[in-house]
């Protein structure tokens, strides 16, 4: 019932099976980069990746051939431009074709909420006048039994495993999140198993009252992992490395430069600590 405290390698090995549906959530803030890199290191395959904003970490997993399908609502490099590896997969099937399950933010948020509530579908007043439903059979309509109005419906998202990054957990596995949370909490509660990497493991969480806490008995595993959101950020711990996001555009633009970078920095490092040390070395 209580959360296990594991190393990242153990957690990914235990909970991310080939073919699983996996949501690494966190909206710009608290993106679980370390977990994504470990998935790449362990060469997981055929994953159904789920995430509102794929961001660099999904660009990396897609480019390294981990994914067969992507459920998403906005796939860019925020403030910079394209995710070149995502584009290459969709436009040219490299390194393998990628099936898309594409939504709007509002639709995907409704799907995560339904998942968290264990309802079979979510609804919204949305998708009117757009071509998305024509290309996604997962966007349907439902009639209000009181007014007759037709609303948009999306199936609940219930990932096999959701992975978050958070600022802290206590030793029982209670997890506390401060700051921008996106749909992370709903993705967490929607998951069959929840894994959370954290900046620090503490004896007792600060008093939360109305703050965001995931209680230990909904958490499958807690993984201590300093800097686990870098180059995204952890409010109160370190800032977003906007320059890295800008650099990524050049790294990922070509297959060769992408592969070389991943080989050296992710496959070539033992863990996230070694990854960060390599970057620091380069910066020095």
């Amino acid at each position: 019932m209580s959360a296990a405290i594991l190393s990242l390698a153990e957690a990914i090995e235990r909970y991310v099976a080939d073919g699983a549906s996996v949501a690494l959530e966190g909206f710009t803030h608290l993106i679980p980069f370390a977990a994504g890199h470990e998935i790449i290191r362990q060469r997981k395959r055929e994953l159904h990746l789920i995430r509102m904003t794929p961001d660099l970490v999904y660009d990396q997993m897609i480019g390294m051939g981990c994914a067969r399908k992507l459920t998403f609502s906005w796939g860019g490099n925020p403030g910079v431009g394209s995710l070149h590896r995502l584009r290459d997969a969709v436009e040219h099937g490299w390194p393998r074709p990628l099936e898309l399950d594409e939504h709007s933010h509002a639709g995907m948020a409704a799907a995560f909420c339904a998942g968290a509530a264990q309802l079979p579908f979510g609804m919204l007043r949305g998708y009117i006048g757009t071509d998305l439903p024509a290309h996604n059979p997962n966007i349907r309509r439902v009639e209000c039994p009181f007014t007759g109005e037709m609303l948009a419906a999306v199936p609940a998202i219930n990932p096999d495993v959701t992975i978050l990054h958070a600022q802290r957990a206590d030793r029982a596995g209670n997890v506390a999140i401060d700051g921008i949370v996106g749909a992370a909490r709903e993705a967490a509660l929607a998951a069959k198993t929840l894994v959370v990497t954290v900046e620090e493991l503490v004896d007792a969480l600060p008093p939360a009252m109305n703050g965001i806490v995931l209680p230990h008995w909904v958490v499958g595993a807690v993984v201590p992992c300093r800097g686990g959101a870098y180059p995204s950020y952890a409010h109160g711990h370190y800032a977003r490395d906007n320059a890295f996001y800008q650099r990524w555009d050049a790294i990922a633009r070509e297959r060769g430069s992408f592969l070389a970078w991943m080989e050296e920095h992710v496959l070539g490092t033992r863990d996230h600590h070694a990854f960060l040390a390599r970057l620091q070395q380069e910066a020095a």
Binding site: F27, T28, H29, M52, T53, S73, W74, G75, G76, P78, G79, V80, S82, L83, L86, R87, V90, E91, E102, H103, S104, H105, A106, A109, A110, C113, L124, R125, G126, Y127, I128, G129, T130, D131, L132, H135, E149, G179, I180, V181, G182, A183, E186, R226, G227, Y230, Y233, A234, H235, Y238, A239, R240, D241, N242, A243, Y245, L276, L279, Q280, A283
Partner: protein, 261 residues
């Protein structure tokens, strides 16, 4: 103000459209600059909401991403993203939504999904994000996009979000609650929907732009309003404020980040 760029002019023109105390759903890029310029000049009580869940935020520098820490730190509160979309946007509490797009058509419909066929795209774009429901629910939408014949097109490759659909009231008949794209701010001036046909037509030009320039940049035969306003050049205050904001932003984003080892 001779050296003012068209991006600056667009930003200033958009900022001027924003009334004090209005509630704006802000996207990254020019809209974010325009909203914050308005806040720092004539609209100090404007309410800015970013889809990351930051409500009433007052950033000192422009965010690079929609979820920069700066937005959370200066917000009245931070709510989960599903609430932003259901309790705020869908609930009709947004006065102004900003959208950009890779393609726009004559009725203000937007494409940010794909160039070419959806199943075999020539260029895969980032996709919808918040756009379909912003387009639907905001009381009015302002579109900001530089114009070329490849972006202001006769026919969208994909309709990501609804403007006036085929015009002549089609949007309202479909039950969209918001007012649709009331203004398109582009790099020669501004387009707005014709009251009956709801086709975008030229309603204002930057002081140094011409109807010919506008027509050359638009991929459909551009209609022109009976009266074309002139958008005055940015004032010294506007330009100074915007440039200071951009300078602060560049400086902040260039500051090296400590790797969290």
């Amino acid at each position: 103000m001779s050296a003012c760029t068209r991006d600056e002019w667009m930003t200033v023109a958009a900022a001027r459209l924003l009334r004090d105390r209005s509630v704006c759903f802000v996207g990254i890029g020019l809209p974010s600059a325009a909203c914050n310029l308005a806040r720092l000049t004539h609209a100090p009580e404007i309410v800015l909401i970013y889809e990351s869940g930051t409500i009433g935020t007052r950033p000192q520098v422009l965010p690079l991403s929609i979820g920069d820490g700066e937005l959370a730190e200066t917000a009245a509160c931070v709510v989960p993203l599903p609430e932003v979309f259901s309790y705020y946007l869908q609930a009709g509490r947004i006065d102004v939504g900003f959208l950009g797009a890779a393609q726009i058509d004559r009725h203000g419909n937007l494409n940010s999904t794909v160039i070419g066929p959806y199943g075999a795209p020539k260029t895969r774009l980032p996709g919808a994000g918040g756009a379909p429901e912003i387009a639907l629910h905001a009381r009015q939408v302002f579109v900001m996009a530089r114009a070329t014949k490849r972006s202001f097109v006769e026919r969208l490759d994909f309709r990501t979000s609804a403007g006036y659909l085929d015009g002549h009231g089609a949007r309202a008949r479909l039950g969209a609650a918001g007012g649709g794209p009331r203004a398109v701010i582009t790099d020669f001036g501004m387009l707005a929907p014709h009251p009956q046909s709801e086709e975008l037509q030229l309603v204002a030009l930057f002081a140094d732009a011409s109807v010919e320039e506008a027509r050359a940049a638009v991929g459909w035969p551009l209609g022109v309003a009976d009266r074309i306003d002139t958008i005055a050049a940015p004032t010294a205050l506007e330009l100074d404020t915007l440039r200071a904001l951009n300078a602060r932003t560049r400086e902040a984003h260039a500051r090296p980040v400590r790797i969290p080892l």
